[in-house]
């Protein structure tokens, strides 16, 4: 363990610290928004510790507030389905020991997977994965609890503009993925479908209906030009 920390890449530590800080602030907005939408404190904390997947937590809070718990589960799990290929990509990093697999799986998030896969060798990959996962777990949950306190103190979230902070934060989260043209088309079509059908359909359905935006991914893409696969 000592050698592990001594040889840790300095740049890695700096990057992970920046990510942790950002996660803390996203967690803070999650806690404040969740409590403002009427969720009890224990449920907000339980989500951050037990689910530990920001996007699906935001989605579940939105759908529970809208009165559609089935869509909360469906939407959240659909969103988290990307963790299945993530798991395949970092299987070597987690190794064959069950203790590492069980704990490491819970720390599997976009950031820990991306950071691990960006490292040049096995040892750094392992360090990056665990350091990012553990740091973000602590920051995310600390942020959530702080957000709970903030939300309880403020009362109506609209007074301090929290209702605008939530979608803006979500956009900032998905923006790196939108640099790819196909992803941009999918996002625009999906968002348009959801907004336009919101006044017509029961709560929760419009967001799920955004998946029809996936057909836009293929438009203008010549056959056989598959994007790069997840590196193994």
């Amino acid at each position: 363990m000592r050698t592990l920390w001594r040889t840790l890449d300095r740049r890695l530590i700096r990057d992970v610290a920046a990510l942790g800080l950002a996660a803390g602030f996203v967690g803070l907005s999650f806690g404040a928004i969740a409590v403002a939408s009427g969720l009890p404190g224990w449920a907000v904390v339980a989500m951050s510790t037990l689910v530990f997947a920001g996007g699906s937590q935001f989605m579940a809070v939105g759908m529970i507030a809208a009165g559609n718990p089935v869509a909360a589960v469906l939407g959240g799990l659909l969103l988290n389905a990307r963790h299945f290929p993530f798991g395949m990509a970092v299987a070597d990093v987690l190794g064959a020991r069950w203790r590492n697999r069980l704990v490491g799986s819970h720390l599997m998030i976009d950031e820990s997977v991306a950071f691990a896969l960006a490292q040049p060798d096995e040892r750094l990959r392992r360090q990056a994965y665990w350091m990012t996962g553990l740091t973000l777990f602590v920051c995310w949950n600390t942020g959530t609890v702080a957000g709970l306190a903030l939300g309880n103190a403020v009362g109506d979230p609209a007074t301090i503009g929290l209702d605008a902070a939530f979608p803006a934060g979500l956009l900032a989260l998905i923006l790196p993925g939108l640099r790819e043209p196909a992803a941009r088309r999918v996002a625009v079509v999906g968002a348009a479908v959801a907004v336009l059908t919101t006044p017509l359909l029961p709560a929760g359905l419009p967001v799920l209906l955004s998946l029809v935006g996936l057909v836009a991914a293929g438009v203008g893409r010549p056959r056989g030009s598959e994007p790069a696969e997840v590196p193994a």
Binding site: M47, L79, P85, L102, D163, A164, P167, G177
Partner: protein, 103 residues
């Protein structure tokens, strides 16, 4: 009670997806279309969630203050501003417009 079930299903399901991928590696290969569509469907869902949260509330369209705040945040995010700047700017614009009497 509903809350316990929702959070429980979400937690167990998410963990199963994470562990499943790590354990089944080598025994199952995900078809190419699934590898491509999974990240894209996450983007579709999150974009839809952001858009509906920005423009609607309880099934009807909201006033100007909230979408205006979100728009400012989105522009900042596009220009690669730090996350906290994006969130705070969106909140300040929306709250400021409301102070000025804009719905």
């Amino acid at each position: 009670m509903t809350l316990v079930i929702v959070i429980g299903l979400l937690a167990v399901g998410t963990f199963a997806l994470r562990l499943g991928g790590a354990v089944l590696r080598g025994r199952v290969t995900l078809p190419g279309w699934a590898r491509r569509l999974l990240p894209l469907s996450a983007i579709a869902l999150l974009a839809a969630l952001a858009a509906t949260a920005a423009c609607t509330d309880g099934g009807s369209f909201v006033g100007v203050a909230r979408p205006a705040g979100v728009l400012v945040g989105a522009v900042l995010a596009w220009r690669r501003a730090p996350f906290i700047a994006v969130v705070v700017a969106a909140a300040v614009v929306a709250a400021g417009l409301r102070l000025l009497g804009v719905p």
